[in-house]
């Protein structure tokens, strides 16, 4: 179905493009929010992606590749959004709406907070690698193909991202900061 809609949209059919946008929108916001860690910025990235996709759609050679192509555009839009906001280096606030009920839950929140801080320290391209690997379940080869980067680059970005996350976890295991703290 996508292929027909894509071909119609390539010919300028806005209604067909609207159906595509609604079909793929949830997946796009899920990816963008996980990379950017901010719903508002993720929505901006998705909106930007849809507009760019509309503009560039006639240049898409293979309509069956629409989904992968759209995700590639989204990742680039997320990079641009991240550059604008510089969100990856600072200002972590992950506080529960209500206080923890007990020690186990408090530990879980602390662990989540340290993961959040570690993740936000990563550059956007490494964040994207983690999202595509651990959320979408893709292999480095699949990610490389989808993002249009060499496999070696995908592997190295994933390696550095894993190393950084491991270091973040182990550093915080040694000196767990207060949840809701701010990093410089």
């Amino acid at each position: 179905m996508d292929r027909d809609l894509v071909e119609q949209a390539q010919r300028g059919d806005r209604e067909a493009f609207g159906i595509l946008a609604r079909t793929h929108g949830d997946r796009l916001i899920a990816i963008a929010q996980r990379i950017l860690r901010d719903v508002g910025r993720a929505e901006d990235a998705v909106q930007q992606t849809l507009v760019i996709a509309w503009r560039e759609l006639p240049g898409l050679r293979d309509p069956d590749r629409f989904d992968a192509w759209l995700q590639r555009l989204l990742v680039h839009a997320s990079y641009a959004e991240a550059r604008r906001s510089r969100t990856w280096s600072a200002n972590v606030r992950v506080l529960p709406s209500e206080g923890p009920a007990g020690p186990d839950e408090a530990t879980a929140l602390d662990n989540r907070d340290l993961l959040e801080r570690g993740f936000r320290r990563l550059p956007p391209d490494q964040r994207a690698m983690l999202v595509f690997t651990h959320y979408l379940g893709l292999s480095p080869t699949e990610i490389a193909e989808r993002l249009g980067i060499p496999v070696g680059t995908a592997n190295s970005r994933l390696h550095y991202a894993h190393r950084a996350m491991r270091a973040a976890i182990e550093a915080d295991e040694r000196a767990l900061p207060v949840a809701g703290g701010r990093l410089g």
């Binding site: 050679r61 590639r72 555009l73």
Partner: protein, 475 residues
């Protein structure tokens, strides 16, 4: 120590949480935006056209034919038959006498309506422009109206301010390279042979050229040499300090970018393979650095794909014959330009980053640190612009694409001043153009030739004078 399995489990759980539903207002906002966003319909993309169905290609060919014949008929009616130099086929050599082009009298009963003549003869885009040791400029090949490739070549003489025919090449070609050798001859390499207006190649039969030719200014003739091991177009060719020529990357059959490189030895007239790049790429830039190494930047890693660009750069070392990675661009770039500055750094301007087609952004490569840093932005976003190092160290940037959807190309030009790192507007071209060429003349002026204008390849040329900051007609 956290094991990889534990880390995977932790990250799987961490990234499972998050937003999974897009608010409808975002889609509504996007759809409202696209009401004001025209779709980008690319000016010329023969490789993508090549991948379409035969039915579509035949339809495109029919439209081109109708437009060419209809437009030519209209122009003949308007201008009268005496104004045109006939061009029987875009790939044919213009039937010109020894007189300067544009002043030739067309033979009686000449076939083929066309107004695609001017000082340069036939209008051409994606041609090469090479300054010879005697100061003349060799303009060779390229594509005419309807993407017909050209075998013809012309010489511009700045002393007489005239163009005259030379050659022709043995093979029609566009997206090729032309490199001035140390002995004063010119090496022409590869390119595409598409002649879409005449006969469409059957599916899968499109080929790029492995052939090469050498132009001898003393005789005005092209002689076959080589060939290369790999057919390619949109590659780069760089003269090395020892006189050999490095051919890098490009696109080959089925529109795949290649990582291979070859060396041309003018002493033997042969190509030999050399190191392979880390990345396959086409539409990249290659710049010989002050120490003799060659900087390769960006490009397209695969087939024609608007959102596929490389942010990586590599260095070729002629001493070892190998490529090694160096710093990366801030983001992937293709269709950009690179210029060696007098202080040894390299200015990267404009281009396409995969989803924005006419960037104003710039970067500077420092060969000492091996890193790129962001530069100031140009006055205009551009793609397929020309950049020319002037004698005073500034860089002239001309034309290029601005809005391909609406076929809005730039007549504007700007100057980069390395002392301040800033771009300022300078005089404008008389003809807006993209896919053109610019060459520094021996007297410090810049010759701008051909390209694609409002609706056809341009046969007019202009000269930029840095002392006045203005363009004037050439030829």
């Amino acid at each position: 120590m956290t094991t990889q399995r534990e880390l995977d489990r932790i990250l799987d759980g961490f990234l499972a949480d998050g937003t999974n539903e897009l608010a409808d207002r975002v889609i509504q906002a996007a759809l409202a935006d696209i009401d004001h966003t025209p779709q980008r319909r690319h000016l010329r993309a023969p490789r993508r056209l090549f991948m379409t169905t035969m039915q579509t290609r035949l339809a495109v060919a029919a439209v081109i034919g109708v437009l060419a014949i209809g437009g030519g008929f209209y122009l003949l009616q308007r201008n009268g038959p005496q104004t045109g130099v006939p061009v029987a086929s875009p790939s044919a050599v213009p039937t010109l006498g020894a007189s300067p082009i544009g002043r030739a009298t067309p033979p009686a009963g000449s076939p083929g309506p066309t107004a695609l003549v001017g000082p340069m003869g036939v209008g051409r885009q994606i041609q090469t422009s090479t300054r010879l040791n005697d100061g003349r400029v060799l303009i060779a090949g390229g594509y005419a109206l309807g993407d017909g490739s050209l075998a013809s070549a012309v010489l511009y003489d700045p002393v007489t301010n005239t163009f005259s025919p030379t050659g022709p090449m043995a093979g029609a070609r566009g997206y090729h390279t032309a490199t001035l050798l140390k002995d004063g001859r010119v090496l022409v390499v590869g390119g595409g042979t598409a002649n879409w207006s005449a006969t469409l190649p059957p599916e899968g039969a499109f080929t790029f050229l492995a052939s090469a030719e050498i132009y001898d200014p003393a005789t005005g003739t092209f002689t076959p040499t080589g060939p290369m091991a790999t057919p390619r177009e949109v590659h780069t060719a760089t003269l090395l300090e020892d006189g050999r020529v490095l051919i890098v990357g490009g696109m080959t059959t089925q529109s795949e970018s290649v990582a291979s490189a070859e060396l041309f030895d003018p002493a033997t007239g042969t190509f030999s393979t050399t190191g392979t790049m880390k990345n396959a790429r086409a539409f990249h830039t290659a710049t010989r650095l002050g120490d003799g190494r060659v900087l390769i930047v960006g490009g397209s890693p695969a087939a024609w794909n608007n959102s596929s660009t490389l942010d990586s750069a590599e260095i070729y070392d002629p001493a070892t014959g190998t490529f090694s990675t160096t710093g990366s661009l801030s983001f992937g770039l293709t269709f950009h330009a690179a210029t060696l500055l007098k202080d040894g750094r390299v200015l990267i301007t404009g281009g396409n980053n995969g989803y924005q087609g006419n960037l104003a952004s710039t970067e500077i490569y420092d060969p000492i640190s091996g890193t790129f840093t962001a530069g100031k932005t140009m006055v205009n976003g551009r793609v397929y612009q020309t950049t020319t190092l002037l004698d005073d160290g500034r860089v002239l940037i001309t034309g290029g694409g601005d809005d391909y959807t609406n076929r809005r190309f730039l007549s504007s030009a700007e100057l980069y001043d390395p002392a301040t790192g800033t771009f300022v507007a300078t005089g404008s071209l008389a003809t807006a153009r993209t896919y053109h060429a610019a060459t520094l003349l021996t007297d410090g002026r810049v010759l701008v030739t051909g390209g694609y204008g409002a609706d056809a390849p341009v046969a007019a040329a202009e000269i930029y004078d840095p002392t006045t900051g203005t363009f004037s007609p050439a030829g």
